[in-house]
């Protein structure tokens, strides 16, 4: 299977690998996928006092397309508000990396991961304001 240069670059030089403190109030964590399906993504965002995502980290178990998709979204969400980050579409990810049809699910998973991280952050924020 021939992969795009962008995809290979993200696979070989993944951006923002790592973990943030999942117990911290300003960190939202999304964990999506399943080991049995061959893909698990953990994506974390850290939101600053100004409401902007100041840091994002990921860890992914999955094929090269899954790793590249998650690496790419960590780059995209940084500096965005969570509302803006929420508008990232799997089709944008798939298009940017030129994912082959059998790998589209990787971009879907990356979108799910960012949404899950945002939901986690919002739940924490809501709890804090109560």
């Amino acid at each position: 299977m021939a992969y795009s240069e962008k995809l290979i670059d993200h696979y070989e030089n993944p951006r923002n690998i790592g973990s943030l403190d999942k117990n911290s109030e300003d960190v939202g964590t999304g964990l999506v996928g399943a080991p049995a399906c061959g893909d698990v993504m953990k994506l974390q965002i850290k939101v600053g006092p100004d409401g902007l995502i100041e840091d994002a980290k990921f860890k992914t178990f999955g094929c090269g397309s899954a790793i590249a998709s998650s690496s790419l979204v960590t780059e995209w969400v940084k500096g965005k508000t969570i509302d803006e980050a929420e508008t990232i579409k799997n089709t944008d990810i798939a298009k940017h990396l030129a994912l082959p049809p059998v790998k589209i699910h990787c971009s879907v998973l990356a979108e799910d991961a960012i949404k899950a991280a945002i939901a986690d952050y919002r739940a924490k924020a809501a709890q804090k304001s109560e």
Binding site: M1, Y11, I17, G33, A36, F61, C63, G64, A66
Partner: protein
Amino acid sequence: MNAVTQIRRNDQPIYLDYQATTPMDPRVLEAMMPYFTHKFGNAHSRSHSYGWEAEEGVEKARVQVAKLIGADEKEVIFTSGATESNNLAIKGVAEFYKDRRNHIVTTVTEHKCVLDTCRHLEQQGFEVTYLPVQQNGLVDLDVLRAAVTDKTVVVSIMAVNNEIGVIQPLAEIGKICREKGAFFHTDAAQAVGKIPLDVEAMNIDLMSISGHKIYGPKGIGALYVRRKPRVRLVPLIVGGGQERGFRSGTLPTPLCVGLGEACEIAAKEMDAESRRLTKLRDRMLKGLQSKLSDLIINGDLDHRIPGNLNISFAYVEGESLMMGIKNLSVSSGSACTSASLEPSYVLRALGVEEEMAHTSLRIGLGRFTTEHEIDTAVDELVRHVTKLREMSPLWEMAQEGIDIKSIEWAAH
């Protein structure tokens, strides 16, 4: 012992997929060459020396094939490959004996071409029993004995599995088949030339052979068909009645000659080559195990051809690993590279859980594999597995002591 010569170019990756196919041995090519050019005759032409010369080449090859498996040359028929041989053997006997017996026994870890042939026959009204295998990949002989009835026409069990390299207890299976009066067919594509095979001692009635798995050409194979007691087949391909009527069509002389030569070389070098490959495989395994934890060998390590390893690198997805080890040509235990995202059915049949099946690689060693290549491969694998584990959320959880099974994963 044969001298290991490098046949790949230096800009090519290290080939570690010998169960998929093998390069042709230069000695095989040399034997074939004259039959492409001046010895081009039709082996079935009886009226001139061109035909006789070609026939001589084909008949010599038939003897070379027969010798390797302890058969008589009259019992060897040439086909286009193991897929055709498997189709012919199973469909051929099933069709011929269908009035008396209509039951077939096989295993769930057979090659797709055997499983698909059996499915096809099921649609024709035959009954097929698909035996499970044990955790080590071997068939349970008691389960087999219980499955074979007086209605069983053929038991088809592969000699060596193409994914995990395990060797089935052929002699014991042959004995059970003989006792019950069922024919024993074995797909020996991965076994011929790698382990000693004897159709008499093992009571094998039909055996499928492939050329390109044993350093011979692609597009040629053979089927051993026992003559005493005679096994009858309905042919798949009819026409001029060549190959005792079992397989019509003009024989591809150069390919037959190549298969024969490949068999002769394999017979001569099997012992030394087995020892050499066992040493290389042990070196690889030790190298990996000394630097990586959480490796699981799939399939029995003792009852296995020396040239195969199938390893699960826990917490690292196989396809991403293959993408990293660009300098190594291996295949993934998981069939992720194909359109289906299902993990290997062979590994699943061993009871390997899906998440582990996704982390497997099949590594095949062969005649042209060198110690230096093995050392390079170990280094590359260690480097990339370590890198991918560092970015694996599952590895992180395992290090934190979290049981991955305790998490409720969303199915997708």
